[in-house]
Symmetry: C2
Amino acid sequence: MSDARVSATPVSDAPAPPPAPPAGVLESCLYADDLAAAERFYADVLGLEPFARVAGRHVFFRCGAGVFLVFDPAVTAVAPGSVGGVAVPPHGARGPGHVAFAIDDAALDGWRTRLGMHGIPIEAEIAWPRGGRSLYVRDPAGNSVELASPRIWGLPER
Amino acid sequence: MSDARVSATPVSDAPAPPPAPPAGVLESCLYADDLAAAERFYADVLGLEPFARVAGRHVFFRCGAGVFLVFDPAVTAVAPGSVGGVAVPPHGARGPGHVAFAIDDAALDGWRTRLGMHGIPIEAEIAWPRGGRSLYVRDPAGNSVELASPRIWGLPER
């Protein structure tokens, strides 16, 4: 009986279940006027893999399960381009943004050495109350870049 | 002989191997003057889990293997606080930033419905040449927020 009652209700009248929450961040972005300097920093110092660049517009890096994108805001804020005839929504922030990259806590000393070899001053080193540590530096555009163990957020190292 | 020569070289003189590249992005950030409106959008519409907030300063969300952070730049650009006596480096950008959250391509229709139910206009929908689609909306602060399949970057869905 209950089966008949259920099947008498058209499926299309039932509210659609909400979609699952996003599985993670796919694209993280920062902005820089000097993209060549940004690429040297993120590729040569941090070791990220650049995989796409358009001179004067952007340089993109692979990073774990997502991508890290650096845009020149002077371009993407006004002329973001189009794909298949659809305008890509513009964006472009000014002033120092922030990103943190996941490293193992055990690699922190190695990172301090590597940053020093590249002449990158360490602006701060923080030991967080719940465990894990962070190193903070600036990219050439002045963005605050953190190298941190996921433990600072109670997350497992990757 | 070669063994003796190698062992005669103190290990500490050998250059340290470079640390492994970052395993991924741990913290992705955007900025908003109205943090309550930002929380309603990211929690109630997008379904992210808020786990920390300081009124007038920030609201933080868990998102997959990392965290997504929204700051009021008027505060974090000038008075970022300190941890264990160490000043947290300031940051705070102005103007529209960008983030993309990972969804399954199969969930895109459900997201279009959900955004409509919340009265959020879809600014663009793009089908990318390599596969996968994106929906673009604006958060209350005007940041460009994308919901996209990782396939747009040749990455597996999560």
